[in-house]
Structures are given as C-alpha cells and as structure tokens.
Symmetry: C2
Subunit: 277 residues, 2 copies
C-alpha cells in the first residue's frame, strides 16, 4: 500500500488513533521537492509553516532538526518529494486543546518522477463541480482539513491525466485541486486571492516573489480569453495548461520563463533537462 | 495521555501515518452514549453514518459487526461514550481516491460521567468569535475536518465550564461547538438549519422526531428573547442554557420534558436519577 513511501520518521513513536490529526484533522502539512539534497523553496515552506502554526495556536517545530530530517530521508534520491505533517498530537475526547500538547511530526519521503510531456506541451484541465466553501479563518493554510479537494479530485478517474479547477461559492476560479492557478492577460500575470478559501501555495509565493502578479478574480468567462494559463505546485513546478473548456493554448512565454527560473533555482523540470539546461 | 480511553479496536491493525484520516481528515466519526449495554440513539447514528458515507463515496461498515464491537468495548461500564471513527484508510500521496480502498475503523470506549448540576440548573454559554464557514457539500456531516470547532473551543479555558455558541458568516447562530442549539418562542421549538455549515446531531434528530420543530434562523437578537434555550448532544443529552449575553433563564418546560424523554428511552441524565426516575 505504501510502496512509493520509503521511510517514515515519526516524532513520538507510532501514530495513535487518538492523535488529533486523525480525530479532527487538527494540524498542517507541507509537501516539499528535494533535489540533490537541496530544498530550494524551503524559505517559503518555512514561512507558511510559521504563519499557519500561529493561526492554529501550534508550536513551530525545531526548524533545523526538521530540515536535517528531511535531507536525511532523501539520502539516495536524486529527486524526491517529502511530506511533513504536523499535528497537535494525542488528545482526550473533545475539541479543547490539550493542556500539555505534544505535537506529532511525521516526515515521509518518496522518489519523485515528473512527466516530461506535461511540461513540454502542457496539461488538460477540467472544471470541478465541487466548489471550495468560504472560511477566511482557515483559508490559505495547508491544514489537514482537505475533504473539499478529496471530493473534487474524486470527480475524475486516473484515465484523465490532467487537473481539475475549483471555483468558490460565487463561481470565480480559485485553484486546481493540488496546484495554484495563474493566467496572463496582455502581459499581466493574475492569480486569484486565497483569503476566503484555497491554499497559498509555496510555488505561488515564489512566482509572486520574482514576477509582478495581480491578485484578482478570474471568472470562467475571463479564463477562457487568457493569453496563457498555468498551474504552480511546490512539487510539480510550472505546468502550462494546454486545454480547458474547448479552448487550447500552447505554452506561453511567461510559463516558459518561469520554467527556466525553476531550473535556475535548482528545480529543473524534466523536458528542459536535455534540451536547455 | 489516553487514561480515560479504555480500549481501542482498530480494524486493520495499528494506525498508519499514511492513513487518509490523518493526512486529509478523510473520514467520519460518530460519538455514542452506551448505557447498560444499549445504544438508544443507534438508529440515528446509523442513518447519519449511511448518509455521510454516501456523500463521501465511502462504504458503510458492517453494521452488525460494528454494533457488536461497540457493545463489547463497553463491557464493565454502566455508562460509556464510544467514538467510532471511519477513515478512507491508507492511501498514496495525492487526493485521488485509492483504487482499492481498505477503510480504517477505530472504536474507542471510555466511561462516561455527566455533571448533575449542568442538567438541574443549566449551563452558561458564551459567544465564539470563530464562525462556521459555508460549505454545503460538507454541512451536516460529522466528518473529520473539524478545525473550525477546534479554533472555537480554543477561545476559552477549562475554568469556564460552559459551552460556546458559533455563528455562520452571516451572523446567525448555528450551534454550540459540540452540541446543537434549540430555542423556544411562545411554545414553538426552533433550531437552525445545518445545510450550509454545522453538524446534524443525533440528539437533534431525536428531538425533531418526537417534537414539532421549526428549522429557522436564530440571530443573536432573537436568541436573547427566547423563552427557553437548550443544547442537545448524543453524549450529553438535553442541556438547558441558564445564562448567555447578560440574559438568564431557568430550565423551561420543553427542556424538562425532553430530559424526561431521554430518561424514558434509556439515557437518564444524572440529576433526575434520584429525584424523578
């Protein structure tokens, strides 16, 4: 069942069925790409983790120790994906915070393999019927309450190899189920806000740090007239969208430049490795 | 840490850190009161479990086997609370449903002790700043995505022995953090809808099955002019509210009649045992 998962590091021994991560989804996670022993987006992961811990009244784990554990588990992998899960730990029955919480930290690494075709040509995306609800108090965090994405992803089977776009209750696009959404209109890069729902992705943060990006609503009618559409993910990087709602695109200059940027910071995307790097 | 928890039954062995209950809150739970080897509200628990499994594309566990396990774990307890947790089981990385899911079922029993004073005199409630978000696709279910209640309950410490009332984004009251809300206005029993947020409680279902109840909005301004206010919970039964927002109430005839009903169906509340039953 866990063949792709190489090693689990659990701070606190085995996972208890009374762990609040299991009983209430009371915690957070980060999914990192580790390339040749480096985590180029670490500062963004660390910032989100700090921010989310504060919002959920949790303690930030020892960052040096966590980073060392991430690197240790990836020993032997050129390219790896690491999931770091931090829960509030074991609790008594009831929602009240434990008086003396001992948080649970799980780190799990797997080798990463990316599909070159998805980067070279782009991916198809579909529209999900499942919408994000509205909850400003939780929006932006990569917390463990992810039933919305589970239901959205359950709308298609693995034979469709693309992603699904999710809307908010008002009908505006927010993100893909596991990636953030960007569109380009006459040179202006736009991404939806994630302050009422959705996740403030680490790759989204990197794009916003190195490009001028407008945070603005993208209704369906606007997306289909975009010059470029692409998705961003800490693990998968920059994924051009090639087809949606009857419209097709070729990967555009903004996505291509960001793919080059990803290579430059140490996260090469597979189609570029032979051709350009 | 788990001193009050007597026994854990886990279908599938120990809990894996790759269990989707832990990684995504991908599952459901029920919290049952088991009194002298009986579960008087079982049919409501079963109905909600069936309904929620359908909504989350999960399989309903073998109900006869589950019921037998619940009863077995309570052997030796006159009064017990049992938490049944059903998750989608171990999964690979990513939101996609496992191709061959093997769901995880955890059943844990603890002895139950109820505070007689809360039933005789009622409890105080406070207003939570944390509001429910809006997500019709998840509303009503007792799923494992419970960060809203965790944050709401974190607003007060254990020195306040009451409950907290939560509002929706529009400001109308929805429920307490771990109980449903009812109010009585000139003989009419009213409870808020739970189709956009909140949990459709099992005790709420029992009240609605044995009384005429109007499902209607209760803004703050309406609650404070109620003739009676009470909370309902599968474990705690019927809890009169004695104080909120500067207003005080004595337990009223509707709450008293429902407490008697609870005794009649086999779930006596402690203050009544000596005095009335």
């Amino acid at each position: 069942m866990t063949t792709r998962r190489s090693v689990d590091f659990i701070d606190g021994g085995s996972l208890s069925p009374a762990d609040r991560g299991f009983t209430y989804g009371d915690g957070l996670f980060e999914t990192l790409r580790v390339r040749e022993g480096r985590v180029p987006l670490w500062s963004h992961h660390r910032n989100r983790l700090r921010d989310s811990c504060a919002r959920l009244h949790m303690s930030v784990p020892d960052e040096g120790r966590l980073f060392a554990e991430v690197i240790r588990l990836c020993d032997g992998f050129d390219d790896a994906v690491v999931r770091v899960t931090l829960s509030r730990g074991v609790g008594e029955r009831g929602y009240a915070l434990p008086a003396s919480p001992r948080q649970t930290l799980v780190v799990a690494a797997s080798p990463l393999s990316l599909d070159a075709c998805a980067y070279a040509e782009g991916i198809a995306v579909r529209l999900c019927e499942t919408r994000y609800g509205e909850q400003p108090l939780l929006a932006g965090m990569k917390h463990l309450n992810r039933l919305e994405q589970v239901l959205a992803r359950a709308e298609w089977s693995d034979t469709f190899r693309g992603e699904g776009l999710m809307r908010d209750l008002g009908g505006d696009l927010v993100s893909a189920t596991a990636a953030n959404l960007f569109a380009v209109f006459e040179g202006q890069i736009v991404t939806p806000a994630v302050d009422r729902c959705g996740v403030a992705g680490v790759a989204r943060a990197e794009v916003m740090a190195c490009r001028e990006v407008a945070v603005d609503a993208i209704p369906l009618s606007r997306l289909v007239v975009a010059d470029e559409v692409f998705l961003t993910s800490a693990v998968r990087g920059i994924l051009p969208v090639r087809a949606f709602a009857g419209r097709t695109w070729s990967p555009g200059p903004v996505a291509r430049a960001l793919q080059s940027h990803w290579r430059d910071i140490g996260l090469p995307l597979p189609w570029m490795e032979g051709s350009q790097s």
